[in-house]
Every structure is written in structure tokens, then in C-alpha cells.
Subunit: 430 residues, 2 copies
């Protein structure tokens, strides 16, 4: 057997401890598969006195992760600190500048500084691995960089945030409001105390930026992503969607169009019988549409100590086997900067929910405005309620450009008979 692979771990939170446990529990299997041992030589964590239930006696402790990245007796620095800047960035840059490989679970860092890391890696001949940064235990980065490498990829569509998916699942299953599920999820420890990046779409967008770069061979472009979260989804949206044969999911979608790359994160209605619609609770999924391999879907746990540690070790096994690749799969100078398609050029079907006065002629007024903007109605749901009270009006419209949709809704919202801001959710059929 070859020399052991020495690694240093920055950050001993849930994932860091999961990593130590997995390395310990499955050491024989992992060594057999690598042809060598993986040995932790150094760690960095704020509190070295805390009892972690793992023997860390023979490991060198550092108080400063960035210093450890430069100095530790290790060929690989595993960055599990988190955050898009500051010490996480400094740690990774120091490691790369010292010619050490980096393994990271940090999607925010990659989304914002991926190109900087790639350049540093290229300069020193080191590599950056990040299977754990997207979709937890699902080996989606490997599928994109290796398993599907023969293909031009046309579209990536993912359920990339477990908290949002958990909330949407329970809203539908239990007829609960967004706020009620979120509070319960926080009480149960399924959602963070501060879940803002989970529910506002930013976490999913970090992951989408990485997937889009790999899929299309483009530079990471987080700023080009149109981002909406699930905070505005009401229980009635969920119920109307159900009635129409759909489920609502927060999706991250990146696709090639004739004019460039569309990158967007927002709630979507998708057909209830699709695989993606049946990915429930905190599970993630990534659907990859290819020119030759057709559509391949990966489903699995999106977070958690075990799945994330599994992904980190997959990267370590690759390094131990000597299997490294350019950071974004092709050399940095081969990455294209394709044009971004603005969201108002998006072509799709839409679900619209309005509250209107219960008078004759209202539907005629609204459909006339839609028609004026070339938006054509596919179906209408209007339920009888108490006479004289405002009634909900739900419509699905055929494929149209988003700017037409917006122009029509602006005009509709100005009608005296329309009692609240029109609510719009995009529909994804495939």
C-alpha cells in the first residue's frame, strides 16, 4: 500500500465531526478502495476543550484555520467553516497557494469566489473538490464532471434546498401555512434558527451557480441568477395547484436557450406524477437533460452530517487515487462567458391567483387584458363563495414571455374589481 494521504480539517461542527466518525468507522473499506490510508494530521476548531467523543489526541490543533492551511503536515485541507468570505476564503487560498488540494462543502464561497479559487489552483497545480457543496450525499458533481462527460447539457433542474422542500411538503400534506411549518421545523431542529438563505432561495442559487458552470462550461455567474424564495406561497396556492394536478417546489433551473443561459431559482408548479414532484421532505434532487444520455435524475438527502461527510470522503478518495481534474472541469481559459437571458424574456406557462369582486363581467375584463397582451388562458378555477364577498380566481395561461405576463398583470391589478396584488407562480412541465 502507498503512503497515507494526510489531511487537515478546518471546522469541527456537525459535518466535521461526521467526517471524523465516518473516517473512523469505515477506515478499512475506505483504505481498500483508495489503496492507501486517509490520516487526519491536523484540525482547527474554536473550542478544543469540548468533549467530541472521538480521540483527537495525536492530532495537531490549530487556532487559526488560515495558518493551518499554510503550515500543517497535510496534502489536503478540508474546509468546513462556511461563509462566502473571511476566514473560509483565506483558508482555501492559503492552501492552494501552498500547493495543497482543497476539499470544501462551502457553496457560498464557490458561488462568489469560484473563479478566484480556480486561478489559484491552476497557478500552484493544486485542485479544488466540492462534491459536498451541492445536494449533500448525492454524487451530482461527479455525474456532471465525469459520468455524463460525453454530453452537451441543455438543462439542469434541481430541488436544491432541503428546508424549502420540507416546508412545501408539509404545507401540502398537512394543510398548514408557511409560517406554521417553518416554526415547527425550527422547533424540531429541521430548520436553522435563521433560515433566511434557505427560504429566500439564496442557498439554492449558490448551488445552482456551481451546477450551471459545470453543465455549460461557463464561468460561475451567481449575480446573473434570478432569485425568489417560497415566503409568498400560501396554503391556497398549494391547494389550487393540487386541484390542477400540480405540486409546488422551489426549483433551481439553468438552461440553454437560443439567446443565452437562463439561471433562476423560484417556486414552480410541476406535474404531480413527475419524479421531481415525488421528492419530498428534506430530500434533494437534480435532473440533468443531455443531448445523448437523455434525462438523468439523482435523488438523495440534501444535508446532514452523514451524507455530507460521505461526499467529502468521495473527494478525498479521488485525491488518494490520484484522480484530479480542473476545478470547473475544463481548463479555466476554456470556460465561456455566455450571455445571460433576462428573466422577462423567460418563456413559460404561468399560474395566476387573484382576488376579485363577485360581479358579472370581471372575468371578461381580465381575459380581455390578457388577450390584449397575447396571453392565452388554458384553464380557470373559480369557486362560489359567500355572495357579495371577494372571490378567488385562479388561472393557468399558455406559454408566453414573462414581460407580456407582467404587463398584463400590471394592468389587471389596476382594475377596481381586483382586490389584491395578483399572485404569479411559474409552471415547469419538464
Amino acid at each position: 500500500m502507498s503512503e497515507p494521504l494526510k489531511i487537515a480539517i478546518a471546522g469541527l461542527g456537525t459535518v466535521g465531526m461526521g467526517l471524523l466518525k465516518l473516517l473512523q468507522d469505515n477506515s478499512t473499506t475506505i483504505s481498500q478502495r483508495c489503496g492507501r490510508e486517509i490520516v487526519v494530521t491536523a484540525v482547527c476548531s474554536r473550542d478544543r476543550t469540548k468533549d467530541r467523543g472521538v480521540d483527537l489526541g495525536s492530532i495537531t490543533w490549530y487556532d487559526n484555520a488560515a495558518r493551518m492551511a499554510s503550515e500543517a503536515d497535510a496534502q489536503v485541507i478540508v474546509e468546513l467553516i462556511g461563509g462566502s468570505d473571511g476566514i473560509a476564503l483565506e483558508t482555501c487560498m492559503n492552501a492552494l497557494q501552498a500547493g495543497r488540494n482543497v476539499v470544501t462543502a462551502n457553496k457560498a464561497l464557490l458561488a462568489h469566489h469560484g473563479m478566484t479559487l480556480a486561478r489559484a489552483a491552476k497557478n500552484s497545480g493544486a485542485s479544488v473538490h466540492y462534491e459536498a457543496a451541492v445536494a449533500g450525499g448525492i454524487p451530482i458533481i461527479k455525474s456532471l464532471r465525469e459520468g455524463l462527460s460525453a454530453n452537451n447539457i441543455q438543462r439542469i433542474c434541481g430541488i436544491l434546498n432541503g428546508t424549502s422542500n420540507y416546508i412545501m411538503t408539509r404545507m401540502r400534506n398537512e394543510s398548514l401555512s408557511f409560517e406554521a411549518v417553518l416554526k415547527d421545523a425550527q422547533d424540531l431542529g429541521y430548520a436553522e434558527a435563521d433560515p433566511i438563505f434557505d427560504v429566500n432561495g439564496v442557498d439554492a442559487a449558490h448551488k445552482l451557480a456551481i451546477l450551471a458552470s459545470l453543465a455549460f462550461g461557463t464561468e460561475i455567474n451567481f449575480d446573473a441568477i434570478h432569485i425568489e424564495g417560497i415566503g409568498n406561497i400560501s396554503l391556497s396556492d398549494v391547494e389550487y395547484a393540487n386541484e390542477l394536478g400540480f405540486r409546488i417546489k422551489l426549483l433551481g433551473i439553468a438552461q440553454r436557450t437560443e439567446t443565452g443561459i437562463e439561471q433562476r431559482v423560484h417556486p414552480c408548479l410541476i406535474p404531480a406524477s413527475s419524479i421531481m414532484a415525488n421528492v419530498e421532505f428534506a430530500y434533494n434532487a437534480v435532473e440533468v437533460t443531455c443531448d445523448f444520455a437523455e434525462t438523468v435524475i439523482h435523488v438523495g438527502p440534501g444535508a446532514g452530517a452523514g451524507p455530507t461527510a460521505s461526499a467529502v470522503i468521495a473527494d478525498l478518495v479521488d485525491i488518494a487515487r490520484g484522480h484530479t481534474l480542473p476545478v470547473f472541469n475544463v481548463p479555466g481559459d476554456k470556460l465561456a462567458a455566455l450571455p445571460t437571458v433576462p428573466m422577462n424574456e423567460h418563456l413559460g406557462k404561468y399560474f395566476i391567483r387573484l382576488k376579485v369582486t363577485d360581479h358579472s363581467g370581471v372575468l371578461a375584463q381580465i381575459t380581455a387584458i390578457l388577450s390584449k397582451h397575447d396571453v392565452s388562458v388554458e384553464s380557470v378555477l373559480q369557486r362560489a363563495q359567500d355572495p357579495g364577498k371577494p372571490v378567488p380566481l385562479v388561472m393557468v395561461v399558455h406559454e408566453t414571455r414573462e414581460h407580456r405576463m407582467n404587463a398584463a398583470l400590471l394592468e389587471i391589478s389596476a382594475l377596481d374589481s381586483v382586490m389584491s396584488e395578483p399572485h404569479l407562480i411559474r409552471i415547469e412541465l419538464h
Copy 2:
């Protein structure tokens, strides 16, 4: 850029031609990702005069694939001939003995001679790659060997035969018999003229043998697989399953139990809301249950020129990048020979369909026999029909050992009130 990777292709059928087309269409992308070109230097096919719509002028033609494997100016021999023995085996062995890497889509060959190939590869330092042999375009071999390499795998469960899945899907959707769908599928070209290995479970078993070896680090043991096909599934089985909240799928399952490895291919009832139940038509799926990464499911096209060629090229890209591994992931001498669990020790729930006389006391007789064998009934479906005529009786029983189930059914089938052979289908809940 490095020297091109030279390959020779044995077999220019649907997949072989798909491979040539994909290499031609996506050559720029593939070269960028490999860091070198992939060049076809030789081919072998029975009919060299046939117009294939691809320029093969500069390629050396061979009439004998085994000779090409020894002699061609190529570092890789791609075997797309098929068949578990004969010329396919000879071609692969010649290639390996000459120190050339083999890429093959041939599951029958691997299932029967995988260990022989692995030994030959080890002796000459060559490698064998077979992403295309299992589940078409889905990169499941890569997930097992690399993406999930940190894990001990407890269970593999796959929809591994597209034809069977297509038939089961259409039987349910259109209320058709097995025979009617099979005939239609043959007319439409979805099923082979001789679909025997597809519908009798043998094709799925070939693939399961490969997956089980990778999952558990064991020697391939095709002969240990319990195999049943879908030929005995009637439309009423499908309809009763539906009524009970299940769908019927042909599954290949390999799992670790306390006493050894269980490997089986047979029709199963699975919950209708599960991801696997929603994998329809010719799509395949593989669910991998791990100790750390939890459950990861891969879904995609199980066959076809494009998906299979995509998988073959993924292997070529790995070789071009210098990323090779032992044939069954760990060195051959590290593969274990774990005990096989016989099918009558299987522990599971069962669906039973009987035809009984319409007399009082019949259900009591049957449940008494089940109870005597410690088999406990979970639910019963009995529909009123024409008085005096035999009536169908459907039962679901709680988890039990298969030998108990068989002993009970033997006794039940001997009852005067039981009009036909009891029909049993296993239930998989997870």
C-alpha cells in the same frame, strides 16, 4: 494537449453507430474535458459494405474482432458484440492479455466471466470499464465505485430492465394483459423479437450481479441469484395492487442480511407514492442504501443508442484522463466470498391471490392454515361476483419467512375450495 487516445470498436450495431455519432458530434467538448482527442483507429463489423452514414474511410477494418483486439493500433478495445461467451469473451481476453484496456456494454459477459476478466486485467496491468453494462445512460457504476465510496452499502434495489418496466407501465395505464402489451411493444420496436431474457428476469439478474459485487465488495456470483420474470403477472394482479396502494415492478434486489447476501430478481409490489413506483416506461432506476449517505436514487434511460454511447464515452474519458481502478473496485484478492442467503429464508410481506368457491367458511379455512404456519393476515379483499361462481380472494400478509409462506400455500392449494394455484407476489416497502 496530450497524444490522442486511440480506440478500436468491435461491433457496429445500434450502440456502435451511436458511439461513432456521439464521438463525431461532441468531439470538441469531449476533447476539452479529456485534455486530449479520442480517435477511432479500427473497427470490426460483419458487413463493411453497408452505408452507415459516417465516414469510416481512414479507419482500419477487421473481419475478426478477437484478432483486432490483439493487433489493432489502439490502447482501448470497445466490445459491443454482446453474448456471454464466444467471440465477445475472446475479444476482451485478447485485449487484456495484450495490455489494452477494455470498455464493454456486455452485462452477460461480466456476470458470467467477470472474475476471469478481472484476473487477466490484473496480470497485464490493463483495466476493464463497463458503465454501459448497467442501466444505460445512468452513471451508476461510477456512483458505486467513486461517488459513494465512503459507504458500506446495505442494499441495492433497481429497475434494471426497461422492457419489463415498459410492459408493467402499460398494463396498468391501459388495463391491458401482459401478452397484449408485449405484442404491441414488439410491433413498435420497443421489445426485441425474442424478449425472453428481458421478461424472464435474466437480463436484470446479469446487471444485479455486477451491482452486488461493487456494492458489497464480493466476487460476482450470478448463480446465487433467485430469478423470476413478469410472465405470470396478470392484469388482475396489477389492478388489485393498485387498489391496495401499490404498483408492480420487476426489481433486482441485493441486500446484506445477518446471515449473508440475498440476491433476487422478481416482480414486487411497492408503494405507489415511492420514487421507484413513479419510474415508468423504459426508464431504469437504481436505489442505493448506504450507512452514511442514506438512500440515493438514480433514474434515467435504461437503453438506447444515445444513452449507452454516453456511458461508453464516460469510460473512455476516464481512461483518457488516466483515471483507472481495479475491475471490481478493490484488488481481486480483497473481494470476499460472503455466504448466500437462500430464497426460502427471505423475510418479507406478501401479496396472495387465490380463486375460491363462493361458500361460507372458505376464508376461515384459509386463515386457519396461514395462522398454523405463523403467517398473519394484514388485509383481505374479496369482491362480490355472480353467486355460485368462483371468487377471487386477495390477501396481504405481514412480514414472514418465505418457507412459512410456501408451506402454508402448499396446504391451501390442496383445499377443495381453492380453484386455482395460489399466486404470490413479494412486497417491498423500502
